[in-house]
């Protein structure tokens, strides 16, 4: 289906916040982005000043944090009030190469996604650097070098190593469940938003307007619900955990699935105790190949049973780099989902009031581009941060 083109004719477009001057190349002039930018700037700066490593260090910044949020919200209200009256008839188009005749907002959205791609690439390259540069904790554990170096709970010394979140998340189907459900939720939400666009774009007369209204708001509302599910499960996975009851016929035994934070997987974890069934096989090999060395270093704290080394010593690991890369990357993605929820809240309301027509349905497409991008990023985050 083709989009309808309407030239930027001289036209006074009345909005709730005054007329838009469509005749001087300022098709949707608004203070809203500037006001929101100022608000977000104040918010980010004051949050950074108020907290250090999760601890509140400057309570006097709290009023400024709320001031930043209030200004952002005020800018958003202006934007929404203007957009609510925006009928989409005057969709401006680029005049210069290489984007000639393409809608300006569409080009802008792609430019924005380009910059977003750079943000996530920097996070991914950081993750790759540390994952490849630091020795995996499991390798150090199995080598037994932590015993030689006295990096144990008794000494207070910690090994600097990399412990990917997947060591915990991919340790059982229940641990992996929130991330897996989230992946399916995001894919379904990508589907529901293209369906909302499809129904909004149906030509006038080809579908009953009431049916169009219901379909569009139901699909957008479904996307909203799926986004809420995503963030809720993210909170469960990070902070809350969940309970598995005893279900005999399924072979399930009563137990708790501990959240990452309760597991000790936090950005403060400079003395983390890895305890996930790693086996001291290398140490056993060392004992077999070089009994005198084993006797010298390990005999008083370890013994060999059935080919495996057992020891009462507890290895301590500094995993702050591992946890920081995980939480910053997945948290940045989660922040994008949250921003999407804010946009979807408004769009669902607008759809409920019958605000979308084939003329202005491109707004759903532009938001959809953002939402699909969020899905795209998750397609990479999920396997490499959760599974591998």
């Amino acid at each position: 289906m083709s989009g309808d083109y309407h030239g930027d004719d001289d036209h006074e477009h009345q909005s709730a916040w005054g007329p838009h001057d469509w005749s001087h190349g300022a098709p949707h002039n608004s203070w809203a982005p500037i006001i929101m930018s100022i608000g977000i700037g104040i918010f980010l700066y004051t949050v950074a000043s108020a907290y250090s490593w999760g601890e509140m260090v400057d309570p006097s910044s709290i009023p400024l944090i709320f001031l930043g949020l209030t200004i952002s919200f005020f800018g958003m209200i202006i934007w929404w009030r203007q957009d609510a009256s925006f009928d989409g008839i005057y969709e401006p188009r680029a005049t210069g190469t290489p984007f000639q005749n393409i809608q300006i907002r569409k080009v802008a959205m792609w430019m924005f996604l380009m910059s977003e791609m750079m943000v996530f690439t920097s996070l991914f390259s950081t993750y790759m650097r540390y994952r490849l540069g630091l020795t995996p904790c499991v390798e150090i554990y199995e080598s037994g070098s932590w015993i030689v170096n006295s990096q144990t709970i008794d000494s207070g010394e910690a090994v600097n190593c990399f412990l990917p979140a997947s060591e915990l998340i991919a340790s059982s189907w229940f641990h992996i469940a929130p991330g897996a459900i989230n992946t399916f939720a995001l894919i379904i939400s990508s589907f529901t938003i293209v369906q909302a666009l499809r129904w909004a774009k149906k030509p006038v007369g080809s579908v009953d307007e009431e049916v169009r209204r219901k379909r569009v708001y139901r699909y957008l509302g479904s996307t909203w619900i799926l986004a809420i599910i995503f963030l809720t499960l993210k909170m469960v996975e990070w902070f809350v955990g969940f309970y598995i009851p005893e279900i005999g016929f399924l072979g399930l035994h009563e137990h708790d699935i501990v959240s990452l934070v309760n597991e000790g997987y936090t950005i403060h974890a400079d003395h983390y105790h890895p305890h996930h069934g790693w086996e001291d096989t290398h140490l056993a090999e060392l004992a077999a190949a070089n009994p005198s060395e084993f006797e010298e270093y390990f005999a008083n704290i370890a013994s060999i049973e059935g080919g495996y080394v057992t020891t009462d010593a507890v290895m301590m690991a500094d995993i702050r780099v591992s946890t920081s890369t995980f939480f910053v990357t997945t948290g940045t993605h989660g922040a994008h989902v949250f921003i999407g929820i804010i946009g979807l809240t408004y769009m669902t309301w607008k759809a409920w009031t019958g605000g979308y027509t084939p003329q202005n349905a491109v707004s759903i497409e532009y938001f959809g581009l953002y939402w699909h991008f969020v899905d795209l990023i998750w397609v990479l985050v999920f396997p490499f941060f959760y599974l591998y």
Binding site: M1, S2, G3, Y5, S52, W53, V57, R93, P98, F99, N101, I102, Q103, K106, W110, M111, M114, M117, M118, T121, S122, F124, S125, T126, M128, R129, Y130, L132, G133, A170, I176, A180, T183, F184, I187, I188, S190, F191, V194, L197, R198, K201, D270, R320, V321, V362, E365, G368, L369, H372, F373, D375, L376, V379, L380, F382, P383, F384, L387, Y388
Partner: protein, 110 residues
């Protein structure tokens, strides 16, 4: 004049089902007893088509009148991505052990 390509329902459904199946394979592969290298191979092998399916079908980069220039726009950062992955992600020596003090955890603790 540019156009927005809106596919029929079938191609969206097919794409959606395909993405769900690929994700299910991904999760099952991790639960299976494959080696680390094989698991990585499977995950990369699945992530690439998923990425393309979302960009091509859901983001309308395939079949749209403007798709060529928009695809080029989307691919524009590829050069910088390669630079970042190769020179920061993979090769920078001592990135994990040679960080200056101000870049280390705990430096700003008050």
């Amino acid at each position: 004049m540019s156009e927005h390509k809106i596919f029929g329902q079938d191609i969206y459904w097919a794409n959606f089902i395909g993405l769900m199946v690929l994700t299910a394979i991904e999760v099952v592969a991790v639960g299976s007893e494959f080696s680390k290298a094989m698991t990585l191979f499977i995950l990369v092998g699945i992530a690439i088509p998923k990425f393309i399916m979302i960009a091509a079908i859901f983001m309308h980069l395939w079949g749209d009148k403007d798709s060529k220039i928009l695809t080029l726009t989307a691919l524009f950062p590829t050069f910088f991505i390669i630079v970042m992955v190769l020179f920061i992600g993979l090769t920078h020596p001592e990135a994990t052990t040679g960080l200056p003090e101000w870049c280390r955890p705990g430096y700003y603790k008050l």
